[in-house]
């Protein structure tokens, strides 16, 4: 990229990609903003061709005023927080386990990664029908084997069940990143701590965990971004019932089930704002960790 000529050529060749990315981001964003200020109910005959009625901030007021708004925010935060806790705690433990030399290490590691390759819809259906079904699910058989009444997972404990399903999908990702981090730990540090009289738990707390802090930060950042928008898992399991209606799902219902495009778009703008607030918080809290 030294000469003026090659730099110009590079810009020229990058232009289509940059242009596409910009369009792909800007068009939906402007359309969402546009619709959020309009009354747009397609089933009542509203259409772009007839011209849409400008309603100002009415959609925004109505979206927040709805009785499902705050519960949806709460559900979103519980799911994101719950999955983060489960994947990081289990991820650290699994990573340490996989770091131990053992027979068949390569195959075990591939098996651990496997759930990540299963599509969200498929994995949620597998959980719903194979494990959590109160009549034919494996968990129901397990409960019956011990003489208990099978739990109706997706209605009695809908949020924990969803957290379980989503955690199962994301655990491989957390484990993989934490495993590579653990492998980069200098074994002499652990030996030094051992000589210094630190028992196993102290070595974990004072040496391994601080070493993993950066990897944990990255896992939290990336997972939060993806977990805020989980949808398929809710759609195929509870359909948003039993307190599992997240902000994403609420927007979907407003647009497609109530056929109120304007209201849904206003919700979308709230979701953008929420995601940015969370991202800002995370950057503040963990950004320091990345600098060190």
């Amino acid at each position: 990229m030294a000469t003026q000529h090659s730099r110009t050529a590079a810009r020229f060749m990058m232009a289509p990609a940059v242009f596409l990315l910009l369009v792909w981001m800007l068009v939906p964003l402007t359309m969402t903003l546009f619709f959020s200020f309009k009354k747009y109910l397609p089933l009542r005959g509203d259409s772009m061709a007839n011209g849409l009625e400008w309603v100002g901030f009415a959609n925004y007021v109505r979206f927040v005023g709805s009785s499902s708004f705050w519960p949806s925010i709460q559900a979103t935060l519980i799911i994101v927080g719950g999955v983060l806790v489960v994947t990081i705690v289990l991820g650290v433990l699994l990573a340490m386990l996989l770091d131990q030399p053992m027979w068949g290490q390569g195959i075990v590691r591939i098996l651990v990664i496997a759930p990540f390759f299963v599509m969200p819809t498929v994995s949620a259906l597998v959980w719903k029908n194979m494990f959590m079904d109160p009549n034919n699910g494996l968990l129901a058989y397990l409960w019956k084997a011990f003489g208990g009444t099978p739990v109706e997972w997706l209605s009695q404990a809908a949020l924990p069940s969803l957290i379980m399903i989503v955690s199962w999908q994301w655990l491989p990702f957390a484990t993989l990143i934490l495993l590579t981090a653990i492998q980069s730990l200098d074994s002499e540090q652990l030996e030094a701590a051992e000589m210094d009289g630190a028992p196993v738990l102290a070595r974990f707390w004072f040496i391994i965990l601080p070493h993993l802090s950066r990897a944990i930060t990255i896992v939290i950042l990336i997972q939060t971004i993806f977990l805020l928008s989980i949808f398929a898992e809710i759609f195929v399991t509870t359909g948003g019932a039993f307190g599992t209606k997240t902000l994403t799902y609420l927007i979907f219902q407003r647009v497609l089930e109530s056929q109120n495009v304007g209201l849904g778009s206003a919700g979308g703008v709230y979701a953008i704002i929420l995601a940015n607030i969370v991202a800002l918080f995370l950057m503040r809290i963990v950004g320091k960790n990345l600098d060190a």
């Binding site: 200098d186 002499e188 540090q189 030996e191 030094a192 701590a193 051992e194 000589m195 210094d196 009289g197 630190a198 102290a202 004072f206 040496i207 601080p210 070493h211 802090s213 060190a292």
Partner: protein
Amino acid sequence: MGKIALKHVTKSFGATEVIPPLDLDIEDGEFVVFVGPSGCGKSTLLRLIAGLEDVTSGMIEIDGNDATKVPPSKRGLAMVFQSYALYPHMSVRKNIAFPLRMAKVDEAERNRKVEAAADILNLTDYLERRPGQLSGGQRQRVAIGRAIVREPEAFLFDEPLSNLDAALRVNMRLEISELHQSLKTTMIYVTHDQVEAMTMADKIVVLNAGRIAQVGSPLELYRSPQNIFVAGFIGSPKMNFIEGEEAGKHGAHTIGVRPEHLALSTDGGTWEGTVGVAEHLGSDTFLHVHVDGIGALTVRAQGEAGLNHGDRAHITPDPERIHRFDSDGLALA
């Protein structure tokens, strides 16, 4: 007290025997250096003493008590690692205080000991820094500080100077020697550098393929090596070995003469040859001479020898300083 005894200690990794049965006594307060080429088992031996590796058979005694099955933290030994193994997320103060914290020493006492150690090692100004902000020599001193505060029976050093540059290495060598003089604690030091071994040790243990080739004071090893391996390993430049007819004249399979025990002259001597490369160090000159009928010999001449590439020269060995070895490489009396 730091008296350590190894009795018939062996170590195998799978089917490979790294250390064949080995006996060694280390007296209290001694500075012992394990030296040998890489892969000779010296680090493994140190780790066996530390307890970081289990012995395959045999016994390790510390102060007369069997310590073979005692975990590393209970052996009362402190170790300085080659990579220093400092905890990167802790300040220097916390690094040095870590063993005390693990031993549940209260905070006031902890601070007093850390500051005392920092004072000895000139680290007082750096106590609040992280290891990543220190130079190699300072990191080395923090690692030593972490060992000192425990007041161990013995210090174990695993090639501690190999990551430092040459000038710093000479400094740290002196500092560790001085530390030994002031603490009078047993120190076991592993290195592949025979200069470090010669300058620091009270007692050198030369290892070759897991076996002890010879144990003795630095000058003992220099003056009377028991075999060809020790003769060739100790001393720089390396001892010259001559086989065949010349050796036969002295009733040996091989004879060895150190470069400094060969006299050089232009007018006459025992052997005659052509000067090859001459390395001028100022205080000394190392000449590589191709002697007729014998081969290449290294000769050390005092000061600036007036000989150049291609000159003819005569060499005379000091008859008192010719080492004789039999066909198994063992020294002949």
